[in-house]
């Protein structure tokens, strides 16, 4: 076990959007019934094959750190934000405000990482994220409960701004992440990206001047329907 490398991915979002059930679904492939509120942080791991099916296949541990979203615990959360390699932003499809709050969440995590001097973090501009190297993924939960006809083709503005991938699912049914489905492919592509950024791009890492424009270009991925 000491031979297997690991990467750390944070799962953040407002309280009650479904992060804990999402993490459980990803790691154990089964839905969980009634998790209580997450106090502090709960962790789970998944063994992921990097570049599965190719000659360079290697196993990695993906550590998913699910951070409790209560606003009263804000100051204490920052100790979990060290050494992060990727971020999954979770929002609730039945509650549009949770999507708008994703910007604040991203700001909170990045502020600890790079010490961005961005005031109180509530009026963030996307310019502050330009130098951001961390891969992002945006997931919308409770897809079964949205009665309003939401145009699934419409990319959420958060995902568009940061050039992140996104998909929607329902935490209670496994079929959304069944192997081979579009969502599963996107998830595994995201994990691969995180691993690559952490372990493999260090040889080719250019000085920060150049990395300004390339992440933006490289990350515009086309969004597709949920199956």
């Amino acid at each position: 076990m000491a031979n297997v490398d690991k990467v750390k991915i944070l799962v953040v979002g407002d309280s009650g959007v479904g992060k804990t059930s999402l993490v459980h679904l990803i790691c154990h492939n089964e839905p969980t019934n009634n998790p209580g509120w997450t106090i502090g942080c709960s962790v789970d791991v998944k063994l992921h094959e990097y570049k599965a099916g190719t000659a360079a296949e290697k196993t990695f541990f993906i550590e998913l750190w699910d951070i409790g979203g209560c606003t009263s615990h804000q100051d204490c959360r920052s100790m979990f934000y060290t050494n992060v390699h990727g971020i999954i932003l979770v929002h609730d499809l039945t509650n549009r405000k949770s999507q708008q709050n994703l910007q604040c969440w991203l700001g909170e995590v990045l502020r600890k990482e790079n010490k961005i001097s961005g005031g109180n973090g509530f009026d963030l501009d996307s310019e502050q994220f330009v130098g951001n190297q961390l891969p992002l993924l945006v997931i919308g939960t409770k897809a079964d409960q949205t009665e309003t006809i939401r145009d699934k083709n419409r990319q959420s503005s958060v995902a568009e701004e940061f050039g992140a991938d996104q998909f929607d699912l329902d935490n209670y049914s496994v079929k959304y992440l069944a192997p081979g489905s579009t969502n599963a492919v996107k998830l595994s592509r995201f994990f691969d990206k995180v691993i690559e950024r952490r372990y493999y791009s260090r040889e080719s890492q250019a000085p920060t001047l150049q990395s300004h424009s390339s992440p933006q270009l490289g990350r515009r991925v086309k969004n597709a329907h949920v199956d």
Partner: protein
């Protein structure tokens, strides 16, 4: 008059959207409507009291408005809000089929149950003088008054004790940076240990899956192998690892809560060094004095069965005139002073209630239950304001009391004051008890 009402309605609307529902989307605008209506009605009642004192608008139109307000607010509190709450609770329960007519029928049934209990509450209390029939406004007000007065007394009792505790310096524990760092380190170590266990579990599971896959192709030899080692490729005991992991998770939660506690204490320490903090500290002394006096007076009232007949304004003026020898126009000044006093009481009680409700809402609500909680809060708010009108009668000089007495009918006001005193005493003493225990527990866990 109606202009004022629309202003209050708008105020309630804004409060709801900007402050309460900061993090949630409004799905049912009916909830928003109900909340703003209740808020507008309550504020109008207070405004009517103020008009009474100042003397705006002639008394017959005031009387008319009073009656109208009272009728509408009682209708909202007793009929509309409980029905709406029942409807939302039922639609959230998974056992109930989601067809509309079943929901409406069940809501009606639950409303009848509510009405029955509401009526029963009034029986053990001597609310009314035996002059009135069954279905009168006084009956309803009496019962709403009881619930509201109980609420008010509990909140004031707790608030009076809690405020000095939170703002005074002598209660703040001393916390050093080293302590905080120590706990954070322990927390991170625990998280690492949990991670380790989970990794072992994940690897063990994968080994099991692999060896299970191989077993199928093994034939008889494979079957013999499985008899020998049921766990196949891995030597780990998964269920034991899971148990250890959940024990560690519990520990991490405790540690996190302690960290949060230490951080808040440190913030309080920082705050106490600022000017605002010192000002609050001074107020805290003042309030603790007030609280002690109030507890004392309540005890005296109960033991000696004394009911104050004279309000503070008139008594203050009496003292000023008789003992201090200051001569001034009693009638004029009593009006001004009572106006100011009542105004201050009204404003602080509205503000205090809204702040408490907001904090309560943030602590409890989640996206599923936010509708129900807001409606309950609206109900509480309505009852609170109605009963504060009742109790305010005590604070006004005799000539202004008449309209309240006239409008609210022949309720036994003295009983309400006595009941308030009793509940206030109970609530204040139990809050002191709770805070003491919490304080001891917290300082013990740190040391």
């Amino acid at each position: 008059m109606f202009l004022l009402q629309t202003i209050f309605f708008g105020g309630g609307w804004l409060f709801f959207l900007k402050i309460l529902y900061k993090n949630y989307e409004v799905h049912h605008s009916g909830v928003l409507l109900m909340f703003s209506t209740t808020f507008a009605l309550s504020c109008t009642m207070f405004v009517l009291i103020i008009f009474e004192i100042i003397g705006i608008m002639d008394s017959s139109s005031r009387y008319f408005h009073w009656k109208l307000q009272l009728f509408v607010i009682l209708f909202v509190l007793i009929v509309l809000l409980p029905a709406y709450i029942g409807f939302f609770v039922l639609s959230n329960l998974r056992l109930v089929p989601q067809k509309p007519h079943i929901q409406v029928a069940l809501t009606f049934v639950s409303w009848c149950v509510f009405l029955y209990f509401f009526w029963k509450i009034g029986d053990p209390f001597p609310i009314l003088s035996p002059k009135h029939g069954i279905f009168s406004i006084e009956q309803c007000i009496g019962r709403v008054g009881i619930i509201g007065v109980t609420l008010m007394a509990i909140l004031s009792g707790f608030g009076a004790v809690n405020y000095p505790y939170t703002s005074m310096f002598c209660f703040i524990r001393h916390v050093t940076d080293a302590e905080i760092q120590g706990i954070e380190k322990r927390l991170m170590q625990t998280m690492d240990m949990i991670m380790l266990k989970k990794k072992r579990i994940a690897q063990a599971k994968r080994e099991n899956l692999r060896s299970a896959g191989q077993k199928i192709g093994g034939g008889i030899w494979g079957m013999l192998k499985t008899v020998g080692s049921p766990y196949g490729g891995s030597t780990e005991n998964i269920s034991q690892l899971k148990q250890e992991a959940s024990g560690l998770e519990e520990l991490s939660r405790q540690l996190f809560l302690e960290t949060v506690d230490l951080h808040t204490t440190q913030e309080r320490m920082e705050f106490s060094k600022t000017f605002k903090g010192k000002y609050f500290n001074f107020l805290g002394y003042f309030f603790s004095g007030y609280c002690v006096w109030k507890i004392f007076i309540s005890t005296v009232n109960i033991i000696f069965d004394r009911v104050g007949k004279v309000d503070p304004v008139t008594r203050g003026i009496e003292i000023a005139v008789n003992y201090l020898g200051i001569q001034f126009d009693v009638k004029f000044w009593s009006q001004q002073i009572s106006f100011i006093l009542i105004g201050i009481i009204i404003v602080t009680s509205i503000r205090g209630l809204l702040i408490t409700l907001t904090r309560f809402f943030y602590a409890i609500a989640s996206s599923k239950s936010s509708n129900i909680i807001v409606l309950c809060l609206a109900q509480i708010m309505g009852m609170y304001f109605v009963s504060s009108v009742l109790l305010m009668r005590m604070n006004m000089p005799l000539e202004y009391r008449t309209i309240i007495t006239e409008v609210l009918g022949e309720l036994q006001f003295n009983f309400y004051h006595r009941w308030f005193d009793v509940i206030f005493l109970v609530s204040a003493l139990s809050s002191i008890g709770f805070l003491y225990i919490a304080h001891k527990h917290a300082s013990d866990t740190i040391n």
